[in-house]
Amino acid sequence: MNKTELKTITGVLEQGMNRQLLYYLDVCTRCSICKDACHQYVSTGDVLFLPAYRAELIRRVYKKYFTRSGLFLPSLYEARESDDRLLDELYRSTYACTGCRRCMYYCPFSIDTTWVLGVAKAMLIAAGKGAQILTELAGAAVSKGENIDLFKDIMLDLNKETEKELQSLIGDSKATIPIEKEGADILYAALAGVHSILPPSVIFHKAGLNWTLSLFESANYGYFLGDVEKGRIIAKRIVDEAKRLGVKEVVISECGHAYRVMQYLYETWAKEELSFGVTAMVEIIARLIEEGSIEIPSGKERKIVTYHDPCQVGRNAGFYEEPRYVLNQVASNLRELNPSREKNWCCGGGGGLVAQPEFDEFRIKTGERKAEQIKQTRAGLVVSPCENCRLQITALNEKYDMGVKVTGLSDVVANQLIGRDIATSFEAGQTEEPEDED
């Protein structure tokens, strides 16, 4: 590594320094209590995936270049030169992390490993070693934002098809899926793919909401990549649209990280205050049922249903009661995973892992806990309001022979509203949107 590269890397650490990060770098005692909190360490036994070690890699660079004690006594801290081997280790341990923050829950100092890894990702990007597929996906999303006029006509055409599906599902030939509707109350940011558009459309239609569908998908590969600038631009597409249409509320699809980006990160990234509320899909469904806007028909599902708390919906956003409240309306036998809620194991697919084939084998291996947990409930249906979780659990289902169906919360509610079996898929016979998503 030459001097310029080194300067780039230490520069990233210097620029990215903030008080929380400094606390995390300073107080860790390497007690390793976090080791049994991480599904990846537990499944592999590889120290590279031990949360404290992941952060330790950054700490060693910090000790070497930013502290006096590290300068005088580098060996005391194993303070490290930032060399290529370090970058390779960083790459493997950082991009493998799903960002579930289960280690933060168990840490006696509440150290947020993902916060430290945020700097690691920035270093890797600066050194030209950012995850390739995530870089491409983020780039595509940014370019879609810049050239929306090229995409719009295709999207409007596809939407006509989706609209017809909606009309036949609810038996109302006048039902629409509005796009670019000025004066709408709600802007719904879906994922690409009708499976993420149809169920909410059914629910919003039944509730009689004044809503409109966003031109942009809620998923944010800039966030997974760790590129704050790209992440900001990708989220800004929806923010600008919301401002242009004058909506009061942006509803984020069943996608864990997209909600986190909009609710917790965007305002700091963009240095602007949002003029609208940010609502998660689980939140609005619970609200609509509670206020009586939609009425769930009787005839609950009797088969065992289990709920997987997505890390970004539960531990990192606090929606524990809402999804359970909703599920109890449609199913009479809801069985909890053990452990669940804030202690729930990560599915193993978060952090953009499901989008990167290089992690396929790894995430199946590190998902064994999740597979075991689900099997123990003997459930036939797994509900989880996060696309990453659903894709991962679907993959686990195949490999570990779990014999379950995997679906989202709006899917089961929409099915119940139109009198179908709650496990019915919304995919069949549908056209996909042109870009690859999640």
């Binding site: 320094m17 995390y24 300073d26 390497r30 909190a37 005391l76 100092f109 509440s110 531990r315 990192n316």
Partner: protein
């Protein structure tokens, strides 16, 4: 006091206390100087009220009960180590001022007995806890994660405890002599009373004090800075609303 004792158990004590205090202030200042990110990093569930948040913070900081789910022995020894440390600190205060009400109630001999038993238990518990933490570090994966700093600190604390326990169990020096020494420190004229100066135990005491000084000096600059950092860092945990 000979010159070496004067240096290690006299001058160095002042240096250590000064470095510890200034170092602590310096660390806090250094933290506060760096701007904090306005991103709320907390995790859920969270308390809704200020009082609830305070209780949650106190629980996270002092009890960290969630650790019981993943590593019970570690939780136990960590708690023992910290309570033991606090008890040892309180016990040492007797060398500044006798706990008069207790001493009156128990009598001179009773107080000696009480001190021997309670202090003895604390000393042993601390030693066992440190041995547990140290031996854990020699196993994988802890070994792969550990840095020399980790061993250095544990061995330093181990030595301090060993010397302290030696003074308690084999020292044959009465508490009054130690108190006289501490008082001489407090009046900035470090001196050993005759009883200590003429005893071989003196060297154990000098070692105990010297190593404690080193620990105190290193504390603010080591990972053990969590003695002050834990309060701030656990507050971040409940920052999300």
């Amino acid at each position: 006091m000979n010159w070496l004792s004067f240096l290690l158990a006299g001058v160095l004590v002042y240096v250590a206390v000064a470095v510890f205090l200034v170092g602590t202030v310096f660390r806090v200042y250094y933290w506060l100087k760096v701007p904090r990110s306005s991103i709320r990093l907390g995790i859920f569930p969270q308390a809704n009220s200020q009082r609830g948040r305070f209780l949650q913070w106190a629980r996270d900081t002092f009890l960290f009960l969630q650790v019981l789910d993943v590593d019970r022995p570690m939780w136990l020894f960590v708690i023992l180590l910290h309570i033991g440390g606090l008890a040892a600190f309180v016990g040492h205060l007797r060398l500044i001022q006798e706990f008069t009400p207790l001493a009156t109630a128990l009598g001179k001999e009773g107080m000696g007995q009480f001190s021997l038993i309670s202090g003895g238990i604390v000393g042993i518990v601390l030693l066992v806890s440190v041995i547990y933490l140290l031996s854990r570090r020699f196993k994988s994966p802890y070994r792969d994660l550990s840095t020399p700093e980790d061993y250095f600190l544990l061995i330093l604390i181990f030595m301090v405890l060993l010397m302290g326990n030696h003074l308690r169990f084999f020292g044959h020096v009465e508490v009054e002599a130690y108190r006289a020494y501490v008082h001489s420190l407090l009046t900035f004229s470090p001196e050993f009373p005759v009883e200590l100066a003429e005893s071989g135990t003196r060297w154990v005491l000098v070692t105990h004090v010297t190593l404690s000084n080193l620990l105190l000096i290193y504390l603010p600059f080591s990972k053990l800075v969590h003695y002050i950092g834990t309060y701030a860092v656990n507050l971040v945990r409940s920052e999300a609303r």
